[in-house]
Amino acid sequence: MANVQIEPVARTRRKLPQELNILSVLVGVALVFELLGWIFQGQSFLMNPQRLTIMILQVSVVGIIAVGVTQVIITGGIDLSSGSIVAMTAMVAMSFAQSSDYARAIYPALTDMPVIVPLAVGLGLGLLAGIINGSLIAITGIPPFIATLGMMVTARGIAKWYTKGQPISFPTESFAKIGSGAWPVAIFLLVAIIFHVALRYTRYGKFTYAIGANPQAARVSGINVQRHLITVYAIAGLLSGLAGIVTAARAETAQAGMGMMYELDAIAAAVIGGTSLSGGRGRIFGTVIGTMILGLMMSGFTFLRVDAYYQEIVKGLIIVAAVVADVYRQKARTKKA
């Protein structure tokens, strides 16, 4: 049979992990900035630990969201609500984390609560939003785009309504600690490792890929597709809630405008990292690299003193280029009829 001849191709592919492509892009981007740094700024871009730390800190919140969004995209769906859920959970969690030193707390009777309370409230709220997303999609069958668009608008609305637009500040020390130092990075990496393992080595992961690759075949194979989809969106919501807590803790304040456009950065990180928007393909490791590429670019442009407007323009182009590259890769693979 002709397909036996595929062998050499298959062998080479096994040796080189899929992430190698994206990893080389990361290194390439870093080297370009390094070079430009010496040319235009007369100093190294990479040999500055402080800059790199700030860079990773900046993207870790988006990274936490992207871990959830990647899983949603693997099922063939999309989640537009994460940025708004960040704002909503940041507001509500912060209102349960205020210190009694502050005279005008939202709930004067509930100040100086142990840190577990705002944590539970924030995570629970994110989880609830995710379950609503998932249930709408799995049970009513409306497209994920619409369901999560609705949640995006509603959750942002709730964030604004909660204090009629006023920011909430003065958290307890223990709450603020969640966002201090390297904690956000640690949380991001921990979450990434957990779900990288879950997707690759557990039944949860196998089912997630199967549903994305062919929902009908998944159903016939005995997978409860509805329940699994609700789980995946619930996890995405939970992680957005976590991201909201980290954001609020780091800023030591919560505002209804937080997390604006984070959902798009998270989707971009996943896509740059090789997750296919048509479902069935993607890895958390790729998403982590995708997140780093986004961070590196932001930090690099700032370092080169490039106007913030240009930064956004270039970011847009890069996202599109990543998808175009993916489309060509797919075409090249399926051409052998």
Partner: protein
């Protein structure tokens, strides 16, 4: 092949012997890692039906796509009506009179029949806008010529597969095409629809159109084709007049080896009733289905497409549960509301449509194989026992002779027959007691077909109860111990192996 010298020796060295419509010479096409066609030739005479035969992966589809302008050959010449041409895409081919009727039909579902046919060539009115009335009129004239009865203003979504195919053919004729390529056009048609299609093909042939016809069905070859060309592993084997050869000759040319028995049914010991179905009904789809199935038995299910055969299988497996009736397993009534329920009762279902409801095309062979077994062990605290499961999959690959270098290859890159084997392996890994197979050998090559039949026999010998739905009567007759026949959602009879024959089945299936 010595015993089979071609009756009409075709010209060598590029000199056409007769007036050919289309001549293909020395075509080579390579894809990354696969040589799909190697120095292939093909000649089509006007007013003939020319069948392309070969196992899956033989290169028929690639050749057909080259003729239709979808692929560009790496080497070789294409001559159309004696003139050398280069085809720049399917549209160019169409303009030159080469049209393809796609296997996966390529019509715009939400547009009308007329809009589909005249797209880009719509008749305009005085204001330069589309004249819908005139367009419908043109369509009606075209349909009258071809004796097709379809409303030109109907939306494609409301048509049956057969009607859609007719629309595609009419579209091709409207382009004055004289080379028409048909890729397994009957694979989703009922008997009467096939007859109608063949009438149309004969009519087209009489007008001097040359038809390239790809099929796996031997009967069709003898019924409709004047000539046929055989391909094997990307090479051209030969061209013959279909009147001059027998079925066995063709099979030998295709596989290059003798197949002594296409349906090697081996007797199995039939013991206790395992599945007992009583009065199973899904209103409007099927009614009052009642039968018993014993361990070791193969129950064939025959009936025309649309008779409700597949729906019964889906109901038994909980994909679309029945609303009335009882299902008993080992004498115990069971409730089956989902595939997971059915699997818990030891059932497995190989679905009819490999692409739609079977394969996870982007996933690896391994992932495709293990997915169903994950419901039954192989998982500890959520973690999949990869090592153990991979070993089982390797064993299964060997046992079913899946032709692939490694299990990490995407299933997409396998031939249809090998994909089917992977899907069968998926279900065998769940160790089913009741195995439901819906068209287990549709669209797969002769070699893989015989292997699958052998496997089914063997499973029955091991005590598995098998329900096998098939549109191919020789397959049903060859494999089954009993045959349940359906017609328009009703059971019209159960025949014993001894009394069954094609005539009896067709009488029950098409009355």
């Amino acid at each position: 092949m010595n015993s089979m010298t071609p009756p009409q020796t075709l010209g060598q060295g590029g000199q056409p012997v007769g007036p050919y419509l289309l001549e293909i010479e020395g075509i080579r096409k390579e894809f990354p890692g696969v040589l799909a066609l190697n120095d292939v030739q093909f000649r089509l005479r006007p007013g003939t039906v020319h069948a392309l035969m070969g196992e899956n992966g033989a290169g028929k589809s690639t050749l057909m796509k080259i003729i239709a302008g979808i692929y560009t050959p790496d080497r070789g010449t294409i001559r159309l009506r004696g003139e050398e041409v280069e085809l720049n895409g399917p549209l160019d081919a169409l303009k030159r009179g080469i049209a393809m009727i796609h296997q996966e039909l390529a019509l715009m579902t939400w547009m009308t029949v007329a809009e589909n046919i005249w797209i880009r060539r719509e008749p305009k009115n005085a204001f330069g806008l589309i004249d819908h009335r005139k367009m419908a009129e043109q369509t009606r004239e075209l349909f009258d010529q071809l004796k097709i009865r379809i409303d030109p203003t109907a939306e494609i979504s409301t048509l049956t597969v057969a009607q859609r195919q007719m629309v595609e053919i009419a579209k091709a004729v409207s382009y004055q095409s004289d080379v028409l390529i048909m890729d397994e056009p009957t694979s989703a048609l009922t008997e009467t629809e096939v007859d109608h299609l063949f009438d149309i093909i004969r009519d087209l042939r009489a007008r001097g159109i040359g038809i390239v016809y790809i099929t796996h069905k031997m009967n069709e070859l003898f019924e409709i084709a004047d000539e046929f060309s055989v391909f094997r592993d990307g090479t051209y084997v030969g061209t013959h007049a279909s009147a001059d050869v027998t079925r066995d000759d063709i099979i030998r040319m295709m596989v290059g080896r003798e197949i002594t028995d296409m349906f090697p049914k081996e007797e199995a010991k039939i013991t206790d009733v395992i599945l007992s179905v009583e009065n199973l009904t899904l209103p409007g789809v099927f009614h009052g289905i009642t039968f018993d199935l014993r361990k070791g038995e193969i129950l064939g299910v025959a009936g025309l497409v649309g008779s409700g055969r597949s729906n019964v299988a889906e109901a038994l497996f909980g994909v679309v549960p029945a609303t009335e009736g009882t299902i008993r397993i080992d004498g115990r009534p069971v409730t089956i509301r989902s595939s997971a329920d059915a699997m818990r009762e030891g059932m497995a279902l190989l679905t009819e449509d490999r692409k739609e409801t079977g394969c996870f095309l982007q996933l690896s062979i391994l992932e495709n194989m293990q997915i169903a077994a994950l419901h039954q062990g192989h998982v500890k605290a959520g973690f999949v026992d990869e090592q153990g499961l991979t070993k089982l999959c390797e064993d299964m690959k060997g046992r079913l002779r899946v032709k692939t270098p490694n299990l990490d290859e995407r299933i997409e890159n396998l031939s249809g027959g090998n994909q089917q084997k992977v899907l069968i392996a998926r279900w065998l890994l769940t160790k089913p007691r009741i195995l439901i197979l819906d068209e287990p050998t549709r669209g797969i090559d002769v070699g893989a077909k015989a292997e699958i039949h052998r496997l089914i026999s063997k499973l029955a010998q091991e005590g598995v109860a098998v329900i096998m739905i098939s549109s191919e009567l020789p397959e049903v007759l060859g494999m089954s111990d009993r045959i349940l026949v359906m017609h328009e959602g009703h059971m019209t009879g159960i025949l014993d192996r001894a009394e069954a024959n094609q005539v009896k089945i067709m009488e029950l299936a098409a009355r």
